[in-house]
Amino acid sequence: MAEQKLVTITIDGKAYQVPAGENLVDAARNHADNQIPVFCYHPKMAPVGMCRMCLVEMGTPERDPNTREIVHDEDGNVKVRWMPKLQTACTQTVSDGMYIRTTTDQVADARNNVLEFLLTSHPLDCPVCDKGGECALQDLTMAHGPGKTRMVFSEKMHLDKIVPLGDLIVLDEERCIQCARCIRFQDEIVGDDVLAFHERGRTLRIITKSDPGFDTYFSGNTTDICPVGALTTVDFRFGARPWEMTSVPSIDPWDAAGSNISLDMRLDRDFGGRAMIKRVMPRQNEWVNEIWISDKVRFGHHFTRAEERICAPLLRNNGNLNEVSWTEALDTVAGVLKAANGDIGLIVGSGASNEDLWALRQVVNGLGSERLGAWPVTHTGGELIAQVGVGKGTNLGKLGKGDVVLIVASDIEEEVPIWRLRIKQAHDRGAAVIVANARKTRMDDFASHTFRYEAGKAAHWLADLKKSAPEAAEAVKSAANLIILTGAEGLTLEGHAALMQAAANLLIETGHVGKPNNGLLSTFPGANGVGQYYLGYTPEQSVAMAAKPPKVLLVAQADMLADDPSVAAWLDKVETIISFSMLPDGITAKFAKVVLPIQSFAERDGTFTNGERRVQRFYTAQGPMGWSLPLWQIANRLGEKLGQGKAKLSAAAVMKEIAASVPAFEGMDYRALSKVEKQYPDVGGASDSYYYSGTACKNTGGLGVVIPTAADKGETVKAGEVKLPAVPKAGKGEFVIIPSTRLYNREAQFKLSTVVHPRVMVPFAEINSADAAKLGITSGDVVQISANGGSVRVRANVNGGAPEGSVVLPRHLTDEPVPMAITVGQVSKV
């Protein structure tokens, strides 16, 4: 990047060198340590100058009209021509020779008066306000405002105090100071403009009229950036005072983005007087999630302390599961494993940490088996990620004009919402976003070009891009930077493998590998889908196990039966199943001989590798539920019983072993992973509220370390052969079933967050209007969809974007499983 041009500005009589074009508020804070107070200005959004809090005196040096020389007074100081009125600092960008005064009486008066004005109708109910203690209005009033009010309470404007904005956010109209940060966030950053002002003057209020109200996956962020307590979440409302909570750094356990979060913990009588998660807050990581998180991350934390959790090892005797001691449980498992003579399979879900994956692998390898299956069996191509994944130093937040993001076969808003938010912003900055899918998805709204291909033919489309989409091929050819993001929607495992290969080939052919902001991304499900590949687990192994079931199968953190109706049949053929599970699921209920309770991400240390191959660390926040143990520890103890060496004492020790044994993780001990550096905008420090006035947390837990790709290391990567798979063809009276992903669903873990329930869709399927007419179906009718040996009843949605001859069936909405990959099935009206 070119060196930024510097300009000289003078703040309160002292000269500073600052980058040209920087916002004055930012420049004053970053370079002059001068906190110009703001309410409406937010460094992530365009300035609007609504709140008038940032008024400063501004001037330029006086010049002699004849010589154009700068005029000096008798003392040799520059004579400054001050503007007659104060200026809003947030709407100014710095320019050479700018003079600013922030400490004069005039400025102090203005700040005082603006605050008094903002407080004229403020209810001053700080004692009951959730923001009290971390409130910009409180802080700035203390610093600059009047000590006393001249307003009689009964004469203040009184508006409604409890106005639900949708199901998750509650608005207090009185507290609102009308800075429009929430409205601008929804409009500029998210692109769901579902908030707006209504009426004017003192009755100005925030409204939402979308259906459902406040229809977005990012609503929680508005409560963070609200400078007052006007917006609160139903989850945290009155949960705790801010000063009572301890923030523990953690990582989003749901998707490939790996958003950095803070778990704000406080003791609670409702949880037996133990520390529990009161709220989940974003933790700044400008590389990953900036200062935003999706609502699923924010509101989906309840499973960590749910009553449903399995709290003790369970052993099946005469068909019933009984609680037993760890010793007995582990002895039983060790016995079963020894007796299997190496005919052992292991399937691990994508929510397991790197340590868990490594420790379990040691046990299985130690017994002479190499059958390490990744679950779910939807995404593959980890080896291509390792070769031509997005280059080290990639930052989606830096993509802009001339860059291209190509999204194929993914409903990215539902799969990885934070990526969708950041790519939408890249689009706003001028990057070309090309979206290709078999059906209409939300990302189409933020796309420069959209393309449709026949269901299941994503790889065919991409491999022959020049013919199938000449415009896209042209854009890709002339792209300064190119990121290809693949999903697996409407694809079989082979289909996704082919798509990944086609994407990798395109990247290699056009030379977009081994550089920052270039390369391959995929929406691997779960928090550690990429980590699975690096530690030797592949979905192909799981498929192989289905074809030839092992004698003993270890299933860790994978709710397999909920993922596909065909799983039950082959699990039946396994002699003994050992389950490592947090919650009771189909496997623990019917199949498992032994159930070993594992801890959630909040109860233990560990690391996840996110979709961009960033290894990030999460910390212990909550005490364990019952006798549950971290998965890695169970594996280690099991290894000890099997004579494979002493169990490790900490996750850090396991990570050290990984760093020493797996080349990709070289040098990644916990110390390296917890390194932080200064980030901009700076949300840290004692006085951050003056500037940022939100409640995002400073990153103290580490920014993570990215695993370099082969291309990054300068190795030559070669294009491979794309093995185009056969595409399921619907016969007469049959339909192609395209499983899709919903962010809010009824998965075992997410189901326990009852606050989100109103937003989970009633099970539905999208049917093309032509097909619906043939079957005599209208929207709202109940239809039965049968495929892969299972069947579900869902409501038909005829208005959706399903291509003709196919049905889009969201996964994990129904109690019974629906297929996880594209297939054919029957649809009938009930």
Binding site: D192, D193, A196, F197, H198, E199, R200, I207, K209, S210
Partner: protein, 166 residues
């Protein structure tokens, strides 16, 4: 196809044609919605949002900002009395008060028969003709209660005649 699109297809088309993009037509379309529903009802908002391809929130926001969109159901005759200072000096405040009393309504309320809604408004730009009111966007000037009663009876009679005819 919503109600508005079905009933006013031509007008919507001509309105949309006047503007560079759909979004710009929202205010003109809101008038059509107000005409159809008698006020800017939630259905009207939804219809306009669909035509303009906007979120209903934004349409509602616009309807709320401008006073000539009514966000509450109105009587058949919407009487807006200016009570700003120049009008008040010429007796508009008393006129406004008397009118409400005569019709038995509160500020912004609608008479029992659903005929009249009385509301005070800011300047109607005819101070020299005060007291005056605007009824369904037509000005009636130099009023007093006697003239007003005549007018009210006249309007009632018109409506009754229409009802009888149909």
């Amino acid at each position: 196809m919503n109600t508005l699109q079905e009933k006013y297809a031509d007008r919507i088309e001509t309105t949309l044609a006047k503007y560079p993009d759909k979004r710009s037509a929202v205010m003109a379309l809101l008038y059509i919605a107000q005409e159809e529903y008698g006020w800017v009802s939630p259905e009207g908002i939804q219809d306009v949002a669909e035509v303009c391809d906007m979120d209903p929130t934004q349409v509602k926001s616009i309807a709320g900002f401008y006073t000539m969109y009514s966000e509450r159901p109105k009587g058949r005759f919407w009487l807006q009395v200016c009570t700003d200072l120049p009008c008040a000096l010429k007796g508009a405040e008393k006129f406004h008060h008397d009118l409400k009393e005569y019709l038995g309504v509160d500020e912004g309320g609608t008479s029992e028969d659903g005929m009249f809604t009385v509301e005070h408004v800011m300047c109607l730009a005819a101070c020299d003709k005060a007291p005056l009111l605007q009824c369904n966007f037509h000005n009636y000037e130099h009023l007093d209660m006697e003239k007003m009663k005549v007018l009210l009876d006249q309007w009632r009679a018109e409506v009754n005649a229409q009802v009888n005819k149909s």
